[in-house]
Symmetry: C2
């Protein structure tokens, strides 16, 4: 696995149980996964030699992020490395404009969107879709980075300046930003599926995600009160996307649930991630097969595991770094207060607002699970002290 963040860290236990060899190409010797995976050479994911040397020791190459350059991946594939998901599939997770074009071509419902290259283009799209709208940098953003809300075309001025100063798009077209309508959604959902090279696919229950500051804060599995027909439609769309883009491994589809003028509910696809995803962390404790085990099974072309939930409800809340670098006292308190909460820490240095872990509570009563998970996360973060 290229990248040694928390996703690679949480993949290691799955590899231990499956009995498969697992190594990571780490961005630093103290990266989250490098602390727990024995074979963790240090190298940059943008360095073709470092990645090729790492790949030479692996049967299959996979990723804990989308930041490996497409040209590098294509080069590896040409040299015979099994890259899963492949470079063609990953290009859609790496470039939001390409993703939008492909999803639209495949008939997947998306927010209204267009590629804009300058202020006038944005102004024109704004007249059509309405301001405020969302402006996204197609490449390199995550956790809300590279995303801005624009109330009028003039606010985006320096974005276009920076765009013109940057590299051209990989396909040689003039660089562009992605403009999207600001969707007045009822709530956010995520659909997690996995797909094998042989085409086998599996989907976990659709979850509700709660975002704050562009970052996932809470996930409830399954999404409470979701119309089964809508859950089915969302799951079908995610499986269709996985097949259409030839995804191998876990695919997370982030979506908006919206109510139309006639009261009909529907789902619009927002973002894709072709790797284990924050919206699937609940599966470690709450599902028969975790997303991390499933990702390994898929990229190794092993048969996929059951995606059934073990308990009626699972609530996952991210733990963000707070003002106190020492977690120990709050960690003790949370464990003592609630023996049923599952605390997962990533071994990362505490910095305010940084994802340093998550907690999951599973059970029969949604409100109880949610209250307990939120309390534990807030207490470890330090935003509450009782």
């Amino acid at each position: 696995m290229v990248g040694a963040g928390q996703l690679a860290r949480m993949t290691h236990p799955a590899a231990v149980a499956l009995g498969v060899g697992f190594r990571v190409l780490a961005e630093s010797p103290t990266a989250s996964a490098a602390l727990v995976v024995p074979d963790s050479p240090v190298g940059r994911c943008t360095d073709p030699q470092a990645v090729a040397a790492f790949a030479a020791g692996c049967d299959v190459l996979t990723f804990d992020h989308e930041h490996v350059p497409g040209a590098l991946l294509r080069g590896l594939e040409e040299a015979g490395t099994l890259v899963r998901p492949g470079a063609r599939a990953l290009a859609h997770a790496q470039d939001k404009l390409r993703m939008r074009a492909e999803l639209t071509a495949a008939g997947v419902p998306c927010p209204r969107w267009t590629a804009v290259r300058d202020r006038d283009g944005l102004e024109g799209f704004g007249r059509e879709a309405g301001f405020p709208l969302v402006l996204k940098t197609p490449r390199g953003g995550y956790d809300g980075r590279g995303v801005m809300i624009v109330n009028k075309a003039d606010e985006a001025g320096d974005r276009f300046d920076r765009l013109r100063a940057g590299d051209p798009a990989p396909d040689g077209t003039a660089p562009a930003l992605l403009a999207e309508e600001l969707v007045a959604f009822d709530r956010e959902l995520a659909v997690l599926v996995a797909r094998s090279p042989s085409g086998q696919a599996a989907a976990w229950p659709v979850v509700q995600t709660v975002q704050a500051d562009g970052m996932c804060r809470e996930v409830v599995a399954p999404a409470p009160g979701l119309d089964p027909a809508l859950a089915g439609a969302a799951t079908s769309a995610a499986l269709r996307i996985a097949a259409h883009l030839d995804v191998v491994g876990v695919l997370a589809v982030e979506a908006f649930e919206v109510t139309g003028p006639d009261g009909t509910r529907s789902v619009l696809v927002n973002e894709l991630a072709m790797r284990p995803h924050n919206s699937g962390h609940w599966t470690i404790d709450g599902a028969v097969t975790s997303q991390f085990e499933q990702h390994l099974r898929a990229v190794l072309d092993l048969p996929l595991g059951s995606t059934l939930a073990r308990q009626p409800w699972s609530v996952m809340v991210n733990v963000l770094g707070g003002g106190h670098p020492d977690l120990y006292r709050s960690y003790l308190h949370v464990m003592a207060r609630d023996p049923g909460v599952k605390v997962h820490l990533y071994g990362k240095e505490v910095r305010p607002g940084r994802k340093i872990g998550h907690v999951t509570v599973c059970g029969e009563d949604l409100q109880d699970c949610r209250d307990r998970a939120r309390h534990a996360a807030d207490f470890i973060t330090g935003s509450i002290d009782s």
Copy 2:
């Protein structure tokens, strides 16, 4: 953790989630846990210098087996190392005669037993308790090694010869074997508890174990149809043993369920293990807190986690090595046939009869779980092929 077998291997994922540093003193660089734990120096557990050097890099020392000599452990404690469980507690798991004496003193029901030093002693005990009886080497046995069934006193002859040729007991008394009545049990049970240095204790549901050739083959959690009063008595006895012996960490109490002449059922304690134990592997998939996480919590004096089962039934079956060194095809088959089975492999070379992994199936229907778990284990072992 001293020792790098499968118990240490399965402890690592728990350490990863808890965010605590975990290292093992490995018997070899290819030992089960050494393959997956980054910091695994190689050294013999009987070598005082190797163990002391390892301990110097740890806050707390714990074990995946009982083979570290007591004198070595006492030396470490005198030098200020936190050894958990401590040398005094471990002495009871290391010496079955001492264990029997202590349990009897604490009023814990045990099979009839005595220390025998020669043929005449055995003959005398046999007249009282009846032949056949069980003769055990007090130290160093596991998985049925060091245990023999004796139909008459003459059969044990060379055992006493070897006894006299060996070392005296640590307390300076003449060496002895442990003779026990052969209990006509209804079934075997195991009680798994954990205890902290601060005295907090927790117990998982009592399980039924099925042994073959002295080795655990199958565990059903909870023990089907067990009288709740008997389950309570067995759990109380295990907690009393943990407190009485000052155990820190996981304690497994193996026991016999027996029916007396008057039809009353009761439980007799057979063996103790002061570490995570085969009878608790089901907790990885079936309980809120696994025995491995709990052992770490206990030895680190963190608050203990919930021992509740996540699903009504869990069945764990050990996978033994069979005639085929290559597991891959059967592994694929089992995963494809049953996406709900959890396969855990230990990274060990396949040798006939060796524990190389286990499978667990959790669910609502006991028979279904048992059939599926047995089939998966037998298929991987190679004893069935369809």
